[in-house]
């Protein structure tokens, strides 16, 4: 894996995008979308996380093995949250 040195401009653009998304999530929290409050917050959160993972953590320029390893954590996360299936089918967790 040759180390891919990104330009300062790339990092600065990602940082600027993260700050815009921060403002967006704080502003969005002042509006009531009902059940979608959490959906909006999570979409913005995931976007920020993906930016950090791809650029700051450099996965975008990593080898296929690094891609695989970085993805495994999220596969686990999905498996973990399947636990909710138990709660939902017992009717104890109604909505988000």
């Amino acid at each position: 894996m040759e180390h891919h040195v990104l330009s300062v401009k790339t990092y600065a653009s990602v940082y600027a995008a993260l700050l815009v998304l921060l403002v967006l999530t704080v502003v969005a929290a002042n509006f009531n979308f009902g059940t979608f409050n959490i959906v909006v917050a999570l979409i913005i959160g995931v976007t920020k996380a993906v930016l950090v993972i791809l650029y700051f953590m450099g996965v975008k320029f990593g080898t296929r093995l690094i891609w695989l390893w970085a993805s495994i954590g999220f596969v686990w996360f999905v498996l973990l949250f399947l636990t909710l299936g138990d709660y939902i089918t017992r009717g104890s967790v109604i909505g988000w």
Binding site: V8, Y15, A41, A49, I53, W76, L80, L84
Partner: protein, 258 residues
């Protein structure tokens, strides 16, 4: 004579261990190793995020009321600080990749300062929560702040006791499971999760600061261990992970009640 091959360019110096064929293979192994650790960290925090999801779904009204006690402004400030620290950390790693020691040290110092600022704000928040009796435990009293404002805080414990007695009834049986103390317990659960999650996160910030300070010291004496950029790259991966955890903690705890 050392059997190691040395890869040097600019101020960068990488020694290939005997167990590796190429420098590329060695670099990849380190990064994959670090990601393996980060996956275990995702499991660690993941369980707490699942607990938060379940409890907020079970008690939406109480969690919504409780989350308003968190300081949104300070939470936003801390998110800004942590995102900035991730940016300076990315630049530190970039300097390490280029073998520029001074830039590396400067950027790591900036990152450590951001981290200290984060913990400073966090300690102000924690202090206020303790003051308002919002730390989970025997002294937890959700309405303490409100009563204090009304100037009847002195009679607080007695009033609370009467309230509980009234709900429990003369024979001490819970007649209605969704009144008084039960609701208070649900609000307390929010603070259990708040302190568990942000506390665990703060410990990670503290460990990150120690790691960065060690790298700064090693770089300052031009220690061979940090002439290779990989240790800094690994510290960077850890730091960005800590940032990502906060990216989710902030909206889920501070912004969205239910």
């Amino acid at each position: 004579m050392s059997a190691e091959a040395v890869h040097a360019e600019h101020g960068l110096e990488q020694h290939v261990g005997v167990q590796y064929s190429t420098i590329e293979q060695q670099n990849e192994s380190y990064i994959v190793g670090m990601w393996t650790f980060l996956v275990t960290e995702i499991m660690f925090f993941g369980a707490l995020f699942l607990a938060l999801t379940i409890y907020r779904s079970l008690y939406p009204a109480e969690f919504s009321e409780a989350h308003h006690r968190l300081d949104k402004f300070l939470g936003t400030v801390n998110t800004f600080i942590l995102l900035s620290s991730s940016f300076s950390m990315a630049l530190a790693v970039r300097y390490a990749q280029l073998g520029q020691r001074k830039g590396l040290i400067a950027m790591l110092l900036v990152t450590v300062l951001f981290a200290a600022g984060f913990l400073g704000v966090k300690s102000i928040e924690y202090g206020t929560k303790f003051e308002h009796h919002l730390f989970p435990g025997p002294s937890f009293d959700f309405n303490y702040e409100e009563r204090e404002k009304q100037g009847i805080a002195e009679g607080g414990m007695a009033a609370r006791g009467e309230e509980q007695a009234a709900v429990a009834g003369p024979i001490g049986l819970e007649t209605n499971r969704t009144t008084g103390p039960v609701l208070e317990d649900r609000k307390q659960m929010f603070f259990v999760l708040y302190f568990a999650m942000t506390g665990l996160h703060a410990i990670h910030v503290l460990i990150g600061m120690v790691v960065m300070l060690v790298i700064i010291l090693l770089a300052a004496i031009d220690h061979p261990a940090v002439r290779d950029y990989i240790p800094i790259e690994m510290a960077g991966l850890y730091w960005h992970f800590v940032d990502i955890v906060w990216i989710f903690l902030f909206p889920l705890l501070y912004l969205i009640g239910h």
